[in-house]
Structures are given as structure tokens and as C-alpha cells.
């Protein structure tokens, strides 16, 4: 009875989230430098009659909003998995070196080898993220993996990468430096269908895989000793889940740069809504993350036209007060 009630509650919440996402998506397409009436959107999308806004809608705003959604999904999912593996609510993709690795490679290309076309950036960034995460994993491995050590080594790897990035930022030409900084802040600016289609497969494959693994994630939460006692192959589960998490975050960062706070905030909000069961948590995290980035992109685009504020800054400005609120809520805990 109680279980049924919980299941019903979960379905209601998910439907609510889906509708909210849809609303944000429609608003993202409507609002912008000039507004497009709702009618025209339906016409453009479902193709009866050409709308004068066809190009803006289907070539600029829609793909951009969808890319933002996927990026948010990826980051939040990755964060949720990572928080589960490490049993640490403050873990996020950035902590294990993914962001710094991606930024290192992308910034190197932008600043040192500006002749290379921008289309290469996503691949390079993805490679950097994977590389940084693997180095972190290898260095943190000492007869087994301790989640705490993983996080700490990740902080060190990020610091090393950031030192190198600072070196490039201070010694090279200012135009390239500016571009690099823009990439690092994270933005969905100018993202097109091409980006959408190359990001989609990652989520279509990895999201279900993560859901299949969600039981294992639940077991890992119990702590290593108990999990081993229950017959779980802890290191293998952890390795696979980590790989999923890193790939999701890497793909997302590769498409839109390093957008902060989503991987941290998404899972937290999800946990408050649907509780700790990994299957529910992952699903809700994905939707919430997608909505956060889409919304941040919309706000950044429309708040001070014609200036665009990169959505990475918006997520930070919104995310920090949320974290402070979390601190405030937990103020009486030691």
C-alpha cells in the first residue's frame, strides 16, 4: 500500500517535471531578440505552412534549447551517479577532474593552436575529460579504490590542470585568451542540430544503462563492507558506474563547456523530491538538470538583450544561493 503510494507520487512528480521542461522548451523557442507567437511555433514545428520565423525557430532556438537540455541531463545524471559512488553529497563531475581535463585540452587548442577549426573542440575536450578522469582513477587506486581518495586525487589533478591553464591565460595573446575564457564559462551559444545529434546517442545509451545499474548503485551506498558482505563485486560496479558518469559529463562538457553547479544542484533537488532510491533519483535528476540548463540559457539570452550572459554564469549565480540554503537547512547538524 505504502509502496503503491510512493510509486504514484513518483509518477506524478515525473509528469510534473516533464510538463515543466516542455513549458521551458516552448518559452525558449518563443522568447529571444524578437518574440515568436505561439501559433507560429506550432506551424514551424509541424510543418503546415511555412512560417516567416521558420529559420529562427528550427535552426537557431530549438536546437540550442535541446542541446542545453541534453547537457543538463548529462551533467545532473553524472553528478547523481558520482554522489552515489562516493557517498559524498558534495561530489560533482568537476571534482574528479573532468572539467579541468576538458578545459585543459580545449584551452590548449584555442590558445596554442588557433589554426585548428572549432569543430574539433568537442572531440578534444571529450578526450581531455576522459584522460583526466582515468588519471585520477589510476592514481587513486591503491589495492582498491577509496571514494574519499578518488575525490582528493581529483582535486589535485584539477589543480594541476588549472595551473597549466593559468600559465596559458597569462602568457598568450589576449584575443585567444578571451575565447578560451568564454569556452570555460560554458555556454550553449550557437549550438546547432549537429551538436544535438552527436550528444543524443550518449544519453540514449548511457541513461538506460545507468538505470539498469541503479540497483548496484543502491548497494554501493551501503558502504564497501556491507556491499561486499551482500556479495556485490564492489570494484567492478564502481568502475562501470564511474565510466558511465565520466562519459556523460565528458560528452556534456565537450558540447557546451564547463557549466558549473548543475551536477551538484540537480541531484540535490531530485533527492528532495523523490528520495534516495537510485532509480528514481537518476530519472528525476536528468529532468531537473535539463530544465536548469535550459532555463539558465533562456535567462542568459533574454535578461540583458542584446548582450548574452553565458549560462554557466547564470547557473552559478542561481546555484550558490541554493547551496547556501542547504547549508542553512543543515545549520544545526554538527
Amino acid at each position: 500500500m505504502l509502496l503503491q503510494l510512493a510509486a504514484k507520487r513518483f509518477i506524478v512528480i515525473m509528469m510534473f517535471l516533464a510538463i515543466a521542461n516542455l513549458v521551458v522548451l516552448v518559452l525558449s523557442v518563443m522568447w529571444g531578440e524578437y518574440a515568436v507567437p505561439l501559433n507560429d511555433i506550432w506551424r514551424a514545428l509541424f510543418g503546415y505552412g511555412r512560417s516567416e520565423h521558420q529559420f529562427v525557430i528550427s535552426e537557431l532556438r530549438l536546437p540550442r534549447a535541446l542541446v542545453a537540455f541534453l547537457v543538463g541531463c548529462g551533467l545532473a545524471l553524472s553528478g547523481a551517479i558520482l554522489q552515489g559512488i562516493t557517498r559524498n553529497p558534495m561530489a560533482s563531475p568537476g571534482v574528479i577532474g573532468i572539467n579541468a581535463g576538458a578545459a585543459l585540452m580545449a584551452v590548449t587548442i584555442i590558445i596554442v593552436l588557433p589554426a585548428i577549426p572549432n569543430a574539433v573542440l568537442p572531440f578534444v575536450a571529450f578526450l581531455g575529460a576522459l584522460l583526466a578522469a582515468s588519471i585520477t582513477y589510476v592514481l587513486a587506486w591503491r589495492r582498491g579504490l577509496s571514494p574519499l581518495r578518488l575525490l582528493l586525487v581529483g582535486v589535485g589533478i584539477s589543480a594541476a590542470a588549472n595551473a597549466y591553464i593559468t600559465f596559458l591565460l597569462t602568457t598568450r595573446q589576449i584575443e585567444h585568451v578571451k575565447q578560451a575564457l568564454l569556452w570555460m564559462t560554458g555556454s550553449a551559444y550557437g549550438r546547432s542540430w549537429e551538436h544535438f545529434w552527436s550528444l543524443l546517442p550518449w544519453l540514449l545509451i548511457l541513461f538506460p544503462t545507468a538505470l539498469v545499474m541503479s540497483r548496484k548503485l543502491d548497494i554501493l551506498q551501503l558502504g564497501d563492507e556491507l556491499a561486499i558482505g551482500l556479495g556485490a563485486r564492489v570494484e567492478r560496479y564502481r568502475g562501470v558506474l564511474l565510466l558511465i558518469s565520466v562519459s556523460l559529463a565528458g560528452a556534456a562538457v565537450a558540447m557546451a563547456g564547463t557549466i558549473g553547479f548543475v551536477g551538484l544542484m540537480g541531484p540535490h533537488i531530485a533527492r528532495q523530491l523523490v528520495g534516495n532510491s537510485s532509480r528514481k533519483l537518476l530519472t528525476a535528476s536528468a529532468f531537473i538538470g535539463g530544465m536548469i540548463v535550459m532555463l539558465a540559457d533562456l535567462i542568459g539570452r533574454t535578461i540583458f538583450p542584446p548582450i548574452e550572459i553565458p549560462c554557466g554564469i547564470i547557473t552559478a549565480i542561481v546555484g550558490a544561493p541554493y547551496l547556501i540554503y542547504l547549508l542553512y537547512r543543515n545549520r544545526n547538524k554538527p
Binding site: F167, P310, Y328, P334
Partner: protein, 327 residues
Amino acid sequence: MRNRIIGIIILSFVVVLCFVASISVGKTTIPPSEVIGAFNAFDGSREHLIIRTVRLPRAIIAVLVGCALSIAGSVMQAISRNPLSGPEILGSNNGAALFMVVSLFLFGYTSAHVQLWVALIGAGLACLVVYGLGSFGRSGLTSIKLILAGATINLLLASIVQGVLIFSEQSLDEMRFWLAGSLTGGSMEMLQQVWPFLAAGLIGSLLLSRQINMLSLGDEVAQGLGLRIGWMKTGSLLIIMCLSGASVAIAGPIGFIGLVIPHIARFLIGIDYRWIIPYSALLGASLLLAADIGARFLYPPQELPAGVVTALAGAPFLIYLAQRRGR
């Protein structure tokens, strides 16, 4: 005891050695005899002028900032009981950076004095905010709350700095070297502005070192030993605030010294903070002097910010520390 005093004497020699080296080497290398001559028998030659107006202030600033940051770091690690925390957790670096960037963006460059105070105020405010957030609630100031609050505020401030820099290429160009933490361009006048803070922090840390030592044993033990924890923590944080705020105001955000040096000090003389603090001060001074000398030669013909050198040298050390933790 005797060994420890001998250690202090040896380290002092190292500091003096690095100090002299820092004055004499660089783009124009000046022999040590000339260095002494610049003070004994100043003759107005180019070498003597370089020494008195550029190299000497720079070396003095390196010594003071190195001392300040590593003392702040060891106090921070003592009260947070977390070996991976450094003075920058309190937010002084990012607070100073934010104030500098915003004031440059809004009012343009005015003078070194104004910039100095802007940075100092920014650093102080950020520290107060982090301290406030870390200490509300019934449980008072706990290290986990302090670190969480610090991480959050730092991320927020850094994002805003990045945002401003994206919109103003001019601020970016003016700020990027400062933001990396550099000892170039420091002068005696700047030092005159901040020395009271540095002195207060240095003396305070030495006076309170016994209490800080108790705090490092944990809240319960310290309370059992009759320490008023709340006041002591506030005092310690004030010390960190003075030291790290003044440092960032004269030298920009230089990382890793505050994190790494206390570990080396602990490795040398154990867990007694009454000794860790003076050892850290001397070690920090020599390390920053050495990093600053390295910054002149590592990437010719340009000069690197000293903060980049300390970070590149410190990051592997951080990874090494992390590897040894966690079972």
C-alpha cells in the same frame, strides 16, 4: 628541543640565502658584493638602482607574503582539522579578485593605493561572509560547515569574476597577470599600507599558538583543557583573514603555499603547532623566494607569475598527499 632550535637557525640561513639570491639574479645578474655595496656605498649606478627600487622590495614582499600565507595555512589546517584546507577556503583570494575586477570595470585604473585597499576590503568581506555562513546554527562554527560555505562562496565569486572578464577584454588584459598571483610591481609604499595587518596576524599567531595547538586536538579535547573554543576560533579566523587579505592585496592570489608548507613543517617537526607556525613561516618565505626566482627563468623571455610556479610545483604534492589518505 635543541634540535628544533638548530632547525630554526638552519632555516633562517636558507631564507637569507634565498633572499640574497632573489636580489642578485634576474635579467641582469648582479654579484652579491654589489648587492651589499648598494646599501653600504650607494653610488647611483644602474645596478644599485635596480637593487634598491625593484629587487629589494620584491624580495621583502616575497618573504612577508610567504610567511603570511603559510602561517595562515597552518592555522587553518589546525582549526579545521583538515589537512587539505588552505587559507583560500575563507574566500580572501576570490573576494579580492572580485572587488578588483569590478572596480576596474566600473572606474578604470586609478592608483596602486586604491587598488590595494579595494583588494583588501574585498578579501575581508568575503572572509566575513564565509565565517558567518560557517557559524550560524546551534552547533556553532564547525569545520565541515566552514569548508562547505567556503567552497560555495569561492565558486560563486569566481564565476562572477569570470563573467565580468568575458565582457571586458580590457579588464581581462589588465587583470590576468594579477589574477595568477605575481610579485612584480610591488613597492615599499604598498608594503607600508598593509604592514599593520601582516604584523597583527604574525604576532597574533605566535601569541595564540598554544591555544591553536589545543584546537588542533579537536573541539572536545580543547574544551576539556579549558579553552573557550568559540572565541579562539574567531580569533584564529581573524588572524587568517589579516594574513591572507594583506597577502592577496600586495601579491595577488598566490595558491598552494598555504596548503603545502604546513605539511612540510609537520613532516619536519611533528604535530606541535607551537613549532609548526614558526617553521611554516620560514619555509614559506624560502619557498616563495625560490618560486619567484624560478618565475624569472622558466619561460624566457617572459616572466611567469609566481602563483603559476607555486601551483605547478604544489599540485603534484597535493596528489601525493591525497594518495596517502583514505583506506
